[in-house]
Symmetry: C2
Subunit: 369 residues, 2 copies
């Protein structure tokens, strides 16, 4: 058996995005103990920078030691108790996954459906809140990675709060790429992924919980079914002060990488990052339009960091992706679920979101089509 040498790809799919050399090199720093005082300091800095990225003062802001799917599960398994009514908005794959999470732990999911490619319709959410006065939670995806649609998180949270519901928000693809204000918008529980617009390597899920959410978690009448994700325990490790209780062994080196990506974010500035994602999206859109390629999502809810476009008629879509990968070393994403075979997903996330990559991708697409 030989060491593995990965090919030199340009990652323009729905994530992971290209990882900056600074972050890769941070990953290779010497592993230290997960209870080492030096490590605890790094954890504190990571929490602080994640608060900046989420625009929140929530004390419980930290990365879950597993991918975004586990971050999603951490939110649901801690906040939903058996029998709880949860309004789940579905406009793509990840809304459906939220529903799966609710029902597996015995919650009662009330579904608000929207067409894939459309944003969540706030009017339907309001109607569902009126129809279900006993609902306790509203859950929705801010940026649907399967469709490239951005929903109005601010408005949906306002509606939920007005009806006494707490909110669970999927920000896997939006964090750092699109405007997102956890405190201003009244988001109670939110999860993201390290491998999208943060451009760190996959494997961590930044989360944040409001005081209201923590109150629900610490006053449950049933234990959390997951020991690994029970925030009552995880808080002891990621909590305040120098004394941390051992819970699990943190993924030390992956956390080095996340820390470095957050340092780079503070250097660039959050608003600048949002603006960069937007301006590069406009460049790509211009080029795609010249190739006669059209977007799935209407302009007002189009995600800049994830460009879902219809596959031109008569194109063998798998062959195109394969040519891009093998001849140009460019990865773009296929459609998921109902949109498989119908769309491509071109990511411009984090370190991938650079002008030179847009040129490379457009030129390769033009030659391939």
């Amino acid at each position: 058996m030989k060491s593995f040498s990965p090919p030199n790809r340009l990652l323009m799919g729905p994530g992971p995005s290209d990882v900056h050399p600074r972050i890769l090199s941070a990953m290779a720093r010497q592993t230290i103990g997960h209870l080492d005082p030096a490590f605890i300091e790094m954890m504190d800095e990571t929490k602080q920078m994640l608060q900046y990225a989420f625009m929140t003062e929530n004390e419980l802001t930290m990365p879950i030691s597993a991918p975004g799917s586990a971050g999603m599960e951490a939110c649901f398994v801690n906040l939903v108790e058996p029998g709880d009514k949860v309004i789940v908005c579905i406009n793509g794959v990840f809304g459906s996954r939220m529903k799966e999470n609710v029902t597996r732990i015995g919650g009662h999911a009330i579904i608000v459906n929207d067409e894939w490619g459309k944003p969540v319709d706030p009017q339907k959410v309001e109607q569902s809140l009126i129809d279900n006065p006993d609902a306790k939670i509203v859950a929705f995806v801010h940026a649907e990675t399967s469709t490239g649609a951005l929903s109005d998180a601010k408005l949906i949270c306002e509606l939920a709060n007005n009806h006494g519901c707490i909110t669970i928000v999927d920000a896997v693809t939006s964090l750092v790429g699109s405007e997102l204000r956890v405190d201003d918008w009244g988001i109670d529980a939110i999860y993201s992924g390290s491998q999208k617009c943060l451009s760190a390597m996959p494997g961590l899920s930044p989360v944040s919980f409001s005081e209201k959410a923590i109150h629900k978690i610490t006053h449950r009448s049933t234990p959390v079914t997951s020991w690994f994700l029970d925030l009552n325990l995880v808080m002891g490790y990621w909590g305040k002060g120098a004394k941390r209780a051992y819970h699990h062994t943190a993924p030390v080196n992956t956390l080095y990488g996340l820390h470095e990506s957050l340092v780079m974010l503070t250097e660039e500035g959050l608003e600048n990052s949002w603006a960069r994602h937007q301006s590069n999206h406009l460049l790509l859109r211009e080029g795609l339009s010249k190739l006669g390629i059209h977007y799935l999502v209407d302009e007002p809810s189009r995600l800049p960091q994830l460009n879902s476009v219809f596959i031109p008629e008569g194109t063998n879509e798998a062959e195109v992706r394969s040519t891009l990968l093998n001849d140009y070393n460019i990865e773009i994403g296929a459609g998921l679920g109902d949109l498989a075979g119908k769309i491509w997903r071109i990511g411009l996330m984090g370190h991938t979101s650079r002008k030179e990559n847009i040129d490379l991708c457009l030129s390769a697409l033009q030659k391939t089509l």
Copy 2:
């Protein structure tokens, strides 16, 4: 905010162990997509080498994308259904954690207790099997990381199999450091960690499941409460063939590291690795004995890779550990749970298990005490 520079520690605690430079440098290789054909090939090689490490031909042998605690949870949440009777052997912290896993998902845990520092008593296990003919599973820890005791996994599995039970075995600390033969010993479900004797960075949990275990998982009458750990879904991603179904985004770079550590294992040879852990243990034991330091665990069940020793009387144990860390850059482990303040845990795992480290540790201990 500045980039993080970890201090240059020697990791002689209960894990993580020192990571070899080859593995660190593998982690820094360029991130590629988790569905890239090159990555799928690397996954296949990883599975194959994990089969070698576990001494099994189990097709379902792979790393869970999260730390050992999640590997434990993957075993219990998939194999235990509400109401199932599970015999859980407790002789340390991790046995207690197994019990937590069983009860949180509605299983009925029958406890076989042994003193901390002693191995699991097979006679008690047999008695419990006789007393509970409706028990479905026997769960125990092969190498108790909290005490340094090794239990007779072969014999306990034989007893369980004779009574028609399947077995769940914690091999977090034993894998690659102590003799372990999954197929020969009839182990049905087993989990380990990447950061112990494999000396990869923390964050992955290698697991393996027998056909009998898979049959139970695929014939459950209730859904697995965890979506993230549901092996019915995970198998679609880590399963056979080139066509993999997206489940979650694999921690790409951490898997590079695990792959490299397994390549190094195949170079050294599994039996040679067991022997190295044993001979270095004997060296450390000799030195500790000269310092008048005694072991918690009786010789026949003493783990070579985790040396649990009584703190000499009149010693300020926290001060000693702190001096070792700050003046010598050596990390050793404190006691956990009931053994906090009573023992130290000196790890000789994986890349840490080298003669020069034993000299460094003994000399630093001598000067400090």
